[in-house]
Amino acid sequence: MDRSDVIILGGGLVGLAFAAALDSAGLRSIIVDPADPDSRLTGAFDGRTSAVSSSSKRMFDAVGISEHFPEPGCPIRVIRVADGLEPGGLAFDPQDDDEPLGWMHENRHLRMALLARARAGEKIDLRFGRRPVKTVRDAHRVRVTLDDGSETEAPLLVAAEGRKSPTREAAGIKLASWRYDHAAIVSTLRHEKPHDNIAYEIFYPAGPFALLPMTDDDGGHRSAIVWSVKKKDAPGFLKLSDEDFAAEAQAAMGGFLGQVSMLAPRTSYPLGFHHAARITDDRLALIGDAAHAIHPIAGQGVNLGYRDAAALAQVLVEGARLGMDLGDAQLLERYQRWRSLDTLMVAMATDGLTRIYGIPGKTASKVRRFGMQLIDRVGPIKQRLMDEARGTSGDLPLLLRGLPI
């Protein structure tokens, strides 16, 4: 029997970050994941790029993940939001000396850094390539039997299994979900003019076109795109030749970055939104996409997951310092209370944004533009939106303020 403080099912982006946070404070974890992590470090497995909010970045610094990045990532200094190519967009532009709004990292680099950090973690026991075959949560402990016959035990089980979390389903936790009639086309562009560290969110009736700055490589300037299109149009977009797709993208961008060409194969993801009714059960906590997934429009998806990880790690470490059973209902209740409001607010805001921009027509466009100009002029609202992008709003867990737990 292998004992630990926490058993984590799922060694994805969020599960690994959570283990690093526990390790940094001296709590032990066993991570179980059937996947082979090394096969995921290529662009072919995951060609996406993720926006890491500055609060998530602070946690990465505080728990020793940042030092494993193969490259520092591309800072986002300004976020521009526009209604199609109409003038009068909204710019989130903090002062120059301010912390960036976020950082763009290639997912494979995120995975590399998280994996390297986990492997270096003295208190992290990695069981990749292993599948949980039996999980029993009783009054005193959680026992997970793996497919190689090994037995693991801990006071708490954390499910970081992604959207389809089987543990969440087995616990009978209900999911509220919306399926959009949209799909996201994801790829990487080469462009002629520099992006100046600006992220663009250009809204079209069919969905937003997001352009996210990446670090220049030997060939020149690069940006990642996440382009939401009608689901029925997605196969068409995927079938286009690189040249034709680049031409479409260039048109959607109004040509402001000059000539555009494709750097990576295109992939498409159906867009959805889900939110678990509860994020805890007896001796169980959900983190990351297992708990909630939002439209990637605001680049907040995985950041919400990192906030779960930071909050739960803090709750557990503080509980351990009080001598509490880490599966104690009071600790789980604190985590649930701390996270649920924040998650739902971000999810609703993001969903609201998608819906507003999904309405075609001149009037809707005017309303949107008027709204943007209004927000632009009203300082506090803008500050609030900017804080939301940075991930600094609300009652922040210590790690997200860059403080150790």
């Binding site: 001296g26 310092r321 009080l322 001598g323 509490m324 009071q330 600790l331 604190r334």
Partner: protein, 240 residues
């Protein structure tokens, strides 16, 4: 059961009847479960101050002994054991001690549980706790004198109890017991002790109060540590 001055038989019987679901966070002891992290937070803070411990350490009581008087089914004794202490727990209700023993064993914790009162314990302890007990004993002064005898040189005593105010009567007896949040008959208002009285009582047995902190109830925060002592309060003391 040993004949002792501090135990009121009626009280022991009342708590004994709660034994079965003592560890159920949604059961009859729900309030106690909610109160537990709050008083543990206080206890940890006092331990760090008193014994000069690193607040980040997981086992600050390593090598120390602790006595929990009125330990119930071990809500406090178990955390003390996890913090590294060699723990002895006493309670007057035999049914409750049986539950405590079974629970500790399942948790893999070694705790010396005994049926009885503080008078039945021998030896001295670095930490002595008596949470929500003094309001249930027959002779409070004799009780604190007995606690003092069990305190090792340089030791720390921590107690908690409801205040004798209209507010605590309203919340603890009228509302909490009335609405079934705490089992009816748990408290007798006339036995509640205000902080000044407890402080004076501790003084007469040669103990000096280090700190007094309130436990307040708020709509957003729930139960929390506070300067407001009207509801319930915690006291820590050492030998003068």
């Amino acid at each position: 059961m040993t004949n002792t001055s501090s135990i009121v038989d009626r009280e022991a019987a009342h708590f004994g009847s709660m034994a079965a679901d003592w560890w159920d966070p949604k059961g009859k002891s729900a309030m106690l479960h909610k109160l537990n992290p709050v008083r543990l937070q206080y206890l940890r803070d006092r331990i760090d101050q008193h014994f000069d411990c690193d607040e980040c350490q997981f086992r600050p009581l390593e090598g120390k002994s602790a006595l929990d008087v009125g330990c119930g089914a071990g809500l406090l004794a178990e955390p003390l054991a996890r913090l590294g202490a060699k723990v002895t727990g006493v309670d007057a209700a035999a049914e409750v001690i049986a539950v405590a023993r079974g629970h500790a064993e399942e948790q893999g914790l070694e705790i010396d549980y005994r049926v009885g009162g503080v008078e039945d314990v021998e030896g001295q302890f670095d930490l002595v706790t008596a949470m929500e007990v003094i309001e249930h004993v027959a002779e409070p002064t004799a009780f604190v004198a007995a606690l003092e005898k069990r305190l090792a040189p340089g030791g720390l005593l921590v107690m908690s109890t409801p205040n004798r105010t209209a507010w605590s009567k309203l919340l603890t007896i009228t509302l909490a017991e009335g609405m079934g949040k705490i089992p009816r008959g748990t408290h007798d208002y006339d036995q509640f002790i205000p902080p000044e009285e407890l402080q004076a009582m501790l003084g007469t047995v040669g103990l000096e109060v280090e700190d007094v902190t309130g436990i307040a109830m708020g709509p957003m925060k729930g139960l929390h540590l506070s300067d407001d002592m009207r509801l319930n309060y915690l006291v820590s003391a050492r030998r003068a």
